[in-house]
């Protein structure tokens, strides 16, 4: 049975914890708003890029001279997984969900006899991945010092991927990140970056009629070749922004839960404390009364 003093100390320490989680929740809420704005601001660019690429891709669909970034290397032996996670913990299941998705993917690829290479963006994902696939990790990119995610950060990663692809170090590249749906729902997502996964089939005919009258300068092929590498960076950038928003959302709801749990704990401990205090008073009274009666 803990003494009254022990209980008082515990209540004080849980209260202090609650203050911290509460503060973290509010900080996450403020950061979430910023991250969400950034993600929304980046959306028009990525969407327009997608439309234009889809338009252009129709012309090259199934042709032999299509750029390698679109048609692939013709094999799918070496897979590169880019796992984008957060730099910090304390955000619920955010990091482990992404890592789990990537891990399952890597396992099934290895079971099929493929070669797997992994690039980790963010320290937390690396911590999880290295336990099982430490030898497959070819590079770890830390964005710890980046306060506000800029396009140049994503561009550096994109360039890295392109130079690796150019050197024939992998055939298929898949990007893992968490798509931000709402504060309480973040969906771990796998997206194929290379060869580019373009929505060719669906609106092909419609888009073709729209693009038929287009004039291109320089040619269609040159534009496509110029755009595909850019598209990689844009996709990475979008994924990182979505990730940042998801991270803050996950942290916010995790900290909200923690604050509530701390509150419940304080209530329980307070009741226990009061009961024990009363029991002590009763014992003391009985002692006094029985002492008086004995006289």
């Amino acid at each position: 049975m803990p003494s009254l003093k022990d209980l008082r100390n515990r209540i004080a320490s849980v209260k202090a914890t609650q203050k911290i989680t509460k503060a973290m929740q509010m900080v996450a809420a403020a950061k979430l708003r910023r991250a969400q704005e950034a993600a929304e601001a980046a959306r028009p660019y990525a969407e327009r890029m997608g439309e234009v690429l889809a338009n252009l891709a129709v012309a090259f669909d199934g042709r032999d001279d299509a750029p390698k970034l679109m048609s692939g290397t013709g094999s799918d032996q070496v897979h590169l997984l880019v796992v984008a996670t957060a730099e910090r913990g304390l955000c619920g299941g955010f990091n482990s969900n992404i890592a789990k998705l990537a891990r399952d993917h890597a396992r099934s690829l290895l079971a099929d006899g493929k070669t797997v290479k992994i690039i980790c963006v963010g320290k937390k994902g690396y911590d999880v991945i290295k336990r099982e696939f430490g030898s497959h990790v070819v590079k770890v990119i830390e964005l710890r010092n980046v306060k506000r995610l800029a396009f140049s950060d994503a561009h550096t990663i994109g360039e890295e991927l392109l130079s690796m692809y150019g050197a024939g170090e992998f055939d298929v590249c898949t990007l893992f990140y968490s798509r931000f749906q709402s504060v309480i729902a973040q969906i771990p997502t796998a997206q194929q970056l290379i060869p580019a996964d373009l929505p060719v089939a669906e609106e092909a005919s419609e888009a073709a009629s729209a693009s038929a009258v287009y004039e291109y300068e320089p040619g269609e092929a040159e534009i496509l070749e110029d755009l595909l590498p850019r598209n990689i960076s844009v996709q990475v950038f979008r994924a990182l922004l979505e990730n940042a928003a998801s991270e803050q959302g996950a942290r916010m709801s995790a900290m909200d839960n923690a604050t509530r749990n701390a509150g419940d704990m304080i209530d329980k401990l307070t009741i226990k404390y009061n009961r024990q205090r009363q029991a002590q008073i009763t014992t003391e009274l009985i002692e006094i009364i029985s002492g008086a009666e004995a006289l």
């Binding site: 950034a38 601001a41 980046a42 028009p44 660019y45 990525a46 327009r48 890029m49 234009v52 800029a150 396009f151 994503a154 561009h155 009258v213 287009y214 004039e215 291109y216 300068e217 320089p218 040159e222 534009i223 110029d226 755009l227 850019r230 960076s233 844009v234 950038f237």
Partner: protein, 136 residues
Amino acid sequence: MAELFQFELVSPERQLLSEQVVEVIVPGTEGEFGVLKNHSPFMSTIKPGLLKVRAQDGGALTEYFVRGGFADVAPGGLTVLAEQAIPVADLDRDELAQQIKNAEEDLKDAKDDDSRLKASDLLSQLNDVQNAIIPA
């Protein structure tokens, strides 16, 4: 009175401009071109340079520094997607100088003719930009 059309200038980080304008001059890879209302559908990549926007009839030109990307003239209007887009007033001279320095180094490091050509193109384009804005 010239007719207005919708113009959007978008960088990966944000949408800089979305408004009705009279005329836009875009630094295309194969030369500058101006866009007015009812331009035929057209698409071009852009080179580093100054993009000029005339918002009102007879009004002054607003200039933006753009780098890397493409312009898409659709029946609905003009969209310029640029990897970097900065209003000239906010353009950091030092940063431009840094970019020029990088380009000079790229030129020095270039191993084959192809990359040397690319680097020298980039360098001359950046120098053009610098010359264009320094008197401003």
